[in-house]
């Protein structure tokens, strides 16, 4: 039996559809209830519905054998897991944004508001630029508007929230998408099941990309 940590929400729904399409369905997951664990003994899967930011924790600590998690969370928390596949779902990018009229003052450190403190630190360290970090947990776009920070480092999907708050993107530096991850110990003891799941998912992702390309042409 493979324990799969699935993120609750839109990404989780997309990922479940993908897994179900390659033979890992679990019909009871559609039932309207507050259950967090769903199991299908026939195809050997048990889904655990968890908060997206907790997926990697469940997998790293062996509560789940595999999981699906955003690259942003992997980069921020650096869990000790294998990153077996890019599922290409939930695509967005990590950006630096500021007020439309922002002019950088090079005489002092940049004040950066973000939920992703490690990603921001690493990014600016790579640029050799000193920063002051302001850790926020939500509504990050408010920070430059209220003068709390000079810039924000945050995930941007369509860019609508940025525009509607009169901010502009200064830099895009990290493409984000959902990743299929595995616990290192499970990889050893359930290798057959995990490799097969990764392979089937990989084929499904390749088929989807192929169809997308054809449509674009």
């Amino acid at each position: 039996m493979l324990n799969i940590a699935l993120p609750k929400g839109r990404l989780g729904d997309q990922v479940y559809e993908l897994l179900a399409s390659v033979g890992y369905d679990c019909k009871s997951i559609y039932e309207e209830n507050r259950k967090l664990v769903f199991e299908n003994r026939e195809n050997g899967v048990r889904y655990l519905l968890v908060k997206p930011s907790d997926v990697a924790i469940y997998v790293e600590h062996h509560a789940a054998d595999v999981g699906i998690v955003g690259k942003d969370i992997l980069m921020e928390s650096r869990p000790d897991v294998y990153e077996l596949l890019d599922l290409g779902l939930g695509r967005c990018r990590m950006c630096v944004a500021a007020r439309e009229d922002y002019m950088e003052d090079r005489e002092r450190p940049v004040r950066v508001a973000t939920k992703f403190t490690n990603i921001a630190k690493e990014h600016y360290a790579g640029l050799g630029r000193e920063i002051d970090i302001i850790k926020l947990n939500g509504s990050i776009e408010l920070a430059p508007i209220l003068g709390l920070s000079d810039v924000i480092v945050d995930i941007v999907e369509s860019g609508n929230t940025i525009r509607e708050n009169h901010l502009r993107i200064l830099e895009e530096f990290l493409p984000i998408s959902a990743r299929f991850i595995a616990n290192k110990s499970s990889f050893e003891f359930k290798n057959g099941a995990i490799t097969q799941m990764a392979q089937r998912l990989g084929e499904a992702v390749a088929r989807r990309e192929e169809e997308k390309k054809k449509k674009e042409e």
Binding site: E60, E83, L84, D86, S185
Partner: protein, 392 residues
Amino acid sequence: MNTEIRGLGQAEAATLRLRSLYESYGYRRYRMSRFEEYGLYAANKSFLLSENVLTFTDLDGRLMALKPDVTLGIAKNTKAGRERCEKVYYIESVCREDRESHTYKEISQMGLECMGAVDDCVTAEVLALAARSLASFGTDSVLKISNMDFVVGMLEALPVDAAAREQILALIRRKNQSDLKRLLAGLGLSGEDQERISQIPSLYGAPRGTLERAAAIAATPAMKAAADRLARLCGVLEALGYGGQLRLDFSMVNDIEYYNGIIFQGFLEGLPRLALSGGQYDGMMAKLGKDADAIGFAIYLKELDWLPKKEARFDVDALVLYDPQSDLARLCRDVDSLRRQGLSVRVEKSAPPDLRYCYLYRFDGRLSLEEDRGNETAGGFAGGRREEEIGC
């Protein structure tokens, strides 16, 4: 090998078992001080699991550290050279940062080191000891081996700078084939090179098949030699009966500044993380100015607490309640006879309220069984025996 000693935790029992195993191979116990000069660790930070080291200033003004690692200390002090091999094992406490709680924790570590002229015979011995150590836990185990020279040899033949090489290695270690392919495409490497490198993360499995796949992508003499060496060592381990627990994984690559050649990791079923880690660290010996090669491994005793264990339902097997007026000499003799039969026995005037026991005896001149709470007696107490066997 599966010594069960009543009352011992997994880590304590393992320590006893493995000591005797290592001694039987002629390894001698190495003891080291709790403190070391901080300079040793500061100069070799990337050898440590975490850069954070707990330091203090000693009374003579030297900056000291509570040792975060044992191998560095042994390597610094060793007298081993090309002509003289040193084989030691250790059981030491190390002080490390705990990533979860973000505090320092003292953890027990056990391991062994072999320093001197490390040839294939020594390497095979250390690998066999790692395999035997894992097997001694009586649960399914995996010993995963790689020869770092294979991947390092491949990267050295490529026209890429050190920064790109480090990025490639980081993705290989995480088995991140998707991002690795993207990175390689951006580095302007030939299609053949890209294809070869992107296969490394999945170069994993039982020795024979994996070595065949490795041979197919071995483009340089260094890579071929690395694969051949691995094949030789696997042959020895298979001949010793460890083939079933053996895997090869070419995506394992340690810090190339310190490590080289054979590296390995051990897993025990039921543990969330690796239980054993080791390898050849000739690079570190050279950095410390030693004219010797070295290989060794560490067992993370703290991790062993995660091994599933049989729940002990009772604190003691038997509780004996006695009347203070009765014949004490006979009481002691009768209780001793119970202990000689393998039971743990607690003697009290009245039953302690929080004590869980399997059998209740009363002594009023003679010992009589009053209560038996063990319906599945054997599972009820570790190492205990059934009542009928005990004969009470």
